[in-house]
C-alpha cells in the first residue's frame, strides 16, 4: 500500500536535552546548526518546506506563530509549506507525518521537520498548570489531573488486572536509563539508575516513583525528509518511510474506557503495519513513548509484541533489550533523554536514522536492523501516532 510518491528520511540531529540555560529561540537555532552539520549536502536553498512541532510555546515561552519564528532562527525561508503542528506529546511526530504527506503528495520535495520545547521556566507550578491544560482543562484539569496521576491509574489497573510488579516498572526505567548512558545528548547521560536505586526514589503519584516518570526537559531536534529520487544526494543510507497510522478516540477522562487496553494504539499500529506490509514480529527495534514506565509496558501489548498482560514479563525477560526480540528505546527513551514535548518525536526519528546508518555507540547499536517502528502517544494516551521505517540494507 502506498500513500503517494516515496519519501525518505535522510538525516537529522538533536541538541543536548536537559535543564538548559537557553531560550526557545536559541534551542531552535541549535537544532538548525546541528541539522546542517549532520547533513553536509543539505543547503538552505534546498529546503522548500518547514514543519515545526511545538506543543505549548504560548504557555512555556509566551510565543505564538512559531513556524516563521523557527524558520528565521534556523536561517530558512520556506517557499512551499510552512506550518506548526501541535499534538501535545506527539507534536514532533506530527511534524514528520505532515512533512511526509506534503512530499508524498508532490507539494514539497525537501522538507525539514523540527521540534522545539522549552519547559523549564522560573515557576514550575505554572509549568505544571500548562501540563494540566493538555487534559480537558475545565472538566478534568480543574480536579488536579496531570499526566502522573493519570498514568498512575493505568499502572494501578495493570497491576490489579495482571499482577504487574513495581519491579517490572523499574525494569523499564533501568533499561532506558542504561541506554541513555551511551547518548551524550540525553538529560540523564551521566546518571546511573539500577532497580534498587529506582525503588528508593520518592513517590510522585502512587504507584509511580520519580524514576517512573519522564522529565520536564528543554530541547530541540530536526530531521530532513525528501522525495525518494533525491535521497542519495544527501546520504548513502536513506531510510524509507514505509507506513504510518494514527488514531484518536476520546479526550475527557470519563470516556477513556479500559485503562489497560489501548484500543487506539492497536488501531494506529495495525494501520501502520498494514501500510508497510509487515507485522510486529518483523521489527528489529522500536522507539516507543515511555513517558512513564507503565506506558512502555502497555505499548508492548497494544503494538503486538506480546499478549495482553504480558508486558511486565516481556521487559523482565530482557526481550526489549539488546539481544531480545525487539530492542526498545536505544536512544534512552523519554525516561533517559527527557521529554521536550515537541522535540521527542523528532529525536526518535534521528535515532532511527542513526541506527540504520550504524553510527550509534556499540552499547546501543542494533545489529543489522531493517525495520523500525516509532510510536508516540499524546495526552492521556487518547491519541496514538505510529510510523514504520525501512532501512536500506
Amino acid at each position: 500500500m502506498s500513500f503517494g510518491r516515496g519519501v525518505a528520511l535522510v538525516g537529522g540531529a538533536t541538541t543536548k536535552f536537559g535543564v538548559r540555560a537557553a531560550t526557545w529561540a536559541e534551542l531552535a537555532q541549535e537544532a538548525g546548526g546541528a541539522l546542517f552539520r549532520a547533513v553536509p549536502a543539505l543547503t538552505r536553498a534546498d529546503v522548500d518546506s518547514l514543519f515545526v512541532g511545538a506543543a505549548e510555546p504560548e504557555r512555556f515561552a509566551f510565543q505564538s506563530h512559531v513556524a516563521p519564528f523557527a524558520a528565521e532562527q534556523m536561517g530558512l525561508a520556506p517557499r512551499r509549506v510552512i506550518q506548526r503542528t501541535e499534538l501535545a506529546c506527539a507534536s514532533g511526530q506530527s511534524a514528520i507525518r505532515s512533512a511526509y504527506a506534503a512530499i508524498a503528495s508532490g507539494l514539497s520535495d525537501v522538507a525539514v521537520a523540527v521540534g522545539v520545547e522549552k519547559m523549564n521556566i522560573p515557576s514550575m507550578a505554572e509549568a505544571n498548570t500548562s501540563m494540566g491544560c493538555v487534559m480537558d482543562r475545565a472538566w478534568d484539569g480543574a480536579h488536579g489531573a496531570t499526566a502522573p496521576p493519570f498514568f498512575a491509574m493505568v499502572a494501578q489497573r495493570h497491576q490489579l488486572e495482571y499482577g504487574t510488579s513495581d519491579d517490572a516498572l523499574a525494569a523499564v526505567s533501568e533499561k532506558n536509563h542504561r541506554f541513555a548512558n551511551s547518548n551524550p545528548n540525553a538529560q540523564f547521560f551521566d546518571k546511573t539508575f539500577d532497580r534498587a536505586k529506582l525503588g528508593r526514589l520518592p513517590v510522585v503519584a502512587p504507584p509511580l516513583r520519580l524514576g517512573d516518570c519522564s522529565s520536564m526537559t528543554d530541547g530541540a531536534a530536526a530531521v530532513v525528509l525528501v522525495a525518494d529520487e533525491l535521497a542519495t544526494k544527501y546520504t548513502k543510507t536513506p531510510v524509507r518511510v514505509a507506513g504510518t497510522g494514527q488514531y484518536a478516540d476520546f479526550h475527557n477522562l470519563a470516556n477513556a474506557g479500559s485503562l489497560t487496553d489501548w484500543v487506539g494504539l492497536r488501531h494506529a499500529a495495525g494501520e501502520a503495519f498494514r501500510s508497510a506490509g509487515i507485522g510486529p514480529k518483523d521489527l528489529d527495534f522500536a522507539e516507543m513513548h515511555d513517558c512513564f514506565t507503565i506506558s512502555e509496558i502497555v505499548e508492548y501489548e497494544a503494538i503486538g509484541l506480546c499478549p495482553p498482560g504480558a508486558g511486565g514479563q516481556y521487559v523482565l525477560d530482557g526481550r526489549s533489550s539488546l539481544g531480545g526480540d525487539v530492542v526498545v528505546n536505544t536512544r534512552g527513551g523519554l525516561l533517559g533523554c527527557g521529554h521536550p514535548l515537541g522535540a521527542t518525536g523528532i529525536a526518535q526519528a534521528v535515532e532511527v536514522f542513526d541506527q540504520f546508518e550504524g553510527r550509534v555507540p556499540a552499547a546501543r547499536q542494533v545489529p543489522d536492523p531493517h525495520w523500525a517502528l516509532v510510536h508516540n502517544l499524546s495526552g492521556s494516551a487518547n491519541v496514538h501516532s505510529v510510523m514504520i521505517y525501512e532501512g536500506a540494507s
Partner: protein, 176 residues
C-alpha cells in the same frame, strides 16, 4: 483507548432517580491562594450565562444535583454536558440527573508536581469513578480518606463544593 470502534460505547440511558441529598458533612478546610489566579492560569470554568451555555449545570450543582445532557432525539447521554449531541448533532437536549453514588475504578494521588493554586492541597487524591447505568465514568477529586487507605471498589458520593469566589464545582467523598 476506549472501545468506541470495537463495541458501541453508548448504551440506553437508564438513570437511577436522584439520590436523596447527602448528609451534611464537615466542610473541607479551604486552602486557596490569597489572590485569585489570572484567567489563563485558572482551571475552573466560568459558570454564568454571560460565559457559557452550560450555566444550568452549575445552577443544578449548587442545588446538590450532578447533571448532564441527554439528547431528546436519540437518548445519547454525554459527558461532559453538551450544547450539540455528538451522535446526531441536534441541539435539542434535556438536563438529566446522574447517580450521585459510585465506586472507585482507579485512583492515584498527587504527592508532587501540583499545578499553580493547588500546591497547598498536596497530597490530594483523584480517581475515576464507576457510576451505574451511564456509558462513561466520572473523574474527580476524592476527599474523606487519605490516599494510603483508599481502595478500588470503594464507595464514593458526588458533592458540590464552593470556590472562594463563589463558583461551584464537584468532587467525590468516600462513604463509610
Amino acid at each position: 483507548m476506549a472501545g468506541s470502534s470495537e463495541a458501541p460505547r453508548r448504551r440506553a440511558a437508564v438513570l437511577a432517580p436522584p439520590e436523596p441529598a447527602p448528609p451534611k458533612s464537615e466542610p473541607e478546610p479551604v486552602k486557596k491562594p490569597a489572590a485569585p489566579l489570572p484567567f489563563l492560569l485558572d482551571f475552573f470554568p466560568l459558570e454564568d450565562e454571560k460565559n457559557t451555555r452550560l450555566a444550568a449545570f452549575f445552577r443544578n450543582l449548587k442545588e446538590g444535583r450532578l447533571t448532564t445532557t441527554k439528547c431528546r432525539s436519540d437518548g445519547t447521554l454525554a459527558w461532559p454536558p453538551r450544547v450539540v449531541c455528538p451522535q446526531c448533532h441536534q441541539a435539542d437536549l434535556d438536563w438529566v440527573d446522574l447517580p450521585m453514588v459510585g465506586r472507585i475504578y482507579a485512583f492515584s494521588a498527587v504527592l508532587m508536581g501540583a499545578p499553580l493554586g493547588m500546591e497547598s492541597e498536596v497530597p490530594f487524591v483523584v480517581g475515576l469513578v464507576d457510576i451505574p447505568d451511564v456509558p462513561f465514568r466520572l473523574f474527580g477529586r476524592i476527599v474523606g480518606t487519605p490516599w494510603e487507605q483508599c481502595h478500588v471498589g470503594q464507595k464514593v458520593r458526588a458533592e458540590p463544593y464552593e470556590l472562594p469566589d463563589g463558583r461551584v464545582f464537584y468532587r467525590f467523598r468516600t462513604v463509610g
